[in-house]
């Protein structure tokens, strides 16, 4: 039975569903931590200190990386099989069927945008925080030339989102994530067999709430820090 997660289409999809659920839960926690930065820079830096190069934070990061990797590898694997199943000759005329969301047919594209955004995000933050600590350094130079400690997350956020192009890139990233989750959240229930005609409207509503909450929760930090950089109040 151990191998039905790899050798059966429904098993492979269950892996997508469970890894996706895990990533959504992580994103919700990440969002909650980010919002702290809007309220208090010091409180946010306390969280950054807590999640430095400690064994539990490193273990958490490793599990998280594994979750992303599994979701990513399975996505390409499933898509490759799907393209093969569709055949070489495509329809000359295609339409969007009634009630079918655009995002449901473009999950891989949206996922790739999310991954690219993630790489950019890791270079902006993780590489200047946990990675610096892992390398044994106690200070890091951020873009404007100032030197800060790797636990001074608030300063790194402040600098990153004072750059307008980062604001635009992050908002595009969050929009792609919104679309991805709008389909992904209800879809993971369907794949796990936990849905029916009564529950579809409820699950789709839940997906909209979760994806919108995540979009707003992340966007507010970006927008607030950009606004702060404009008015020069800090």
């Amino acid at each position: 039975m151990g191998c039905f997660l790899t050798n059966s289409s429904l098993g492979r999809k269950l892996v997508m569903s469970i890894s996706g659920c895990f990533l959504v839960l992580f994103i919700l926690i990440h969002m909650a931590m980010n919002i702290v930065a809007v309220i208090s820079g010091d409180a946010y830096n306390m969280i950054c200190g807590f999640l430095g190069a400690n064994w539990y934070a490193l273990a958490g990061t490793a599990v998280l990386a594994l979750g992303v990797l599994v979701h990513f590898v399975y996505a390409f694997w499933l898509t490759w099989q799907n393209r093969k199943a569709r055949g070489n000759v495509r329809y000359a005329v295609t339409v969007t069927e009634k009630g079918v969301d655009w995002e449901s047919k473009n999950m891989l594209l949206l996922g790739v945008i999310v991954i690219l955004g993630l790489l950019l995000h890791l270079s902006h933050f993780w590489a200047k925080m946990m990675l610096v600590e892992l390398m044994g350094a106690h200070e890091v130079t951020i873009g404007d030339g100032s030197v800060v400690t790797p636990t001074d997350g608030a300063a790194i956020i402040q600098y990153t989102f004072s750059q307008w192009y980062n604001v635009v890139l992050y908002l595009v990233w969050f929009a792609a994530l919104w679309l991805h989750l709008n389909h992904g959240v209800w879809s993971m229930f369907q794949t796990a067999g936990w849905a029916n005609d009564t529950w579809y409207p409820r699950l789709k509503c839940l997906a909209k709430i979760v994806s919108t909450l995540i979009f707003l929760g992340f966007a507010v930090v970006v927008v607030v820090f950009y606004a702060k950089s404009l008015c020069g109040c800090c």
């Binding site: 799907n82 000759v89 495509r90 329809y91 339409v95 069927e97 079918v100 449901s104 067999g193």
Partner: protein
Amino acid sequence: MNFTLKIWRQKDAKSKGAFKEYQVKDISSDTSFLEMLDILNNDLVHAGEEPVAFDHDCREGICGMCSLHIDGHAHGPSQAVTTCQIYMRQFKDGQTITIEPWRSAAFPVIKDLVVNRGAYDEILQAGGFVSVRTNSVPDGNAIPIPQADAEESMDAAACVGCGACAATCKNGSAMLFVAARVSSLAKLPQGRVEGARRAKAMVAKMDELGFGNCTNTGACQAECPKSISIAHIARLNREFLCAKLED
């Protein structure tokens, strides 16, 4: 009414196909789509040309034999009907209509618009038997079945196995068909007994035949001539996963 038809012509499974344009003239608006193709074929035969091959049988929407991808829709532009149930009045006079065969690796084209849907029969065979009493006719009420279960089973059993689901799915997935078959039997006491074995065997056969993985787009239920709900796919997922976890 007059129409320009862009029809996929392919000599046989091995040949390369291409679209060919035909004109049909003076078609009554009450002509069915398949009758319109009959008229075209009649003209082609009189002109000494090879008629267009297409699948059809009962022409009353119950056999599942007709197919055709018409202007981007499996079974044409109407909802919840098979190709044989659409009429030329649903198209505009002078319109160009593109007619293609099902496109799915598991449904290879045999000739023109005819594809081999034998893969669905193989999945059905893999489903196996149901335990029912033979010999004398049983009392109709001997096994009580809740009305809701009977209705749901019948909704799934409405599947005619036409292949529109896999033909519509961007992943070439046969999940709606397999789900309808598994669901219709799983909801009845007679089919319940072999539920776990059936779900595993049919999914294994579906994978083996090269159908794709469902990504829950819902395109299949939108194009299904019997409006079968993807809720049956959720049940198939449930049946299969529970069966695997019990192994």
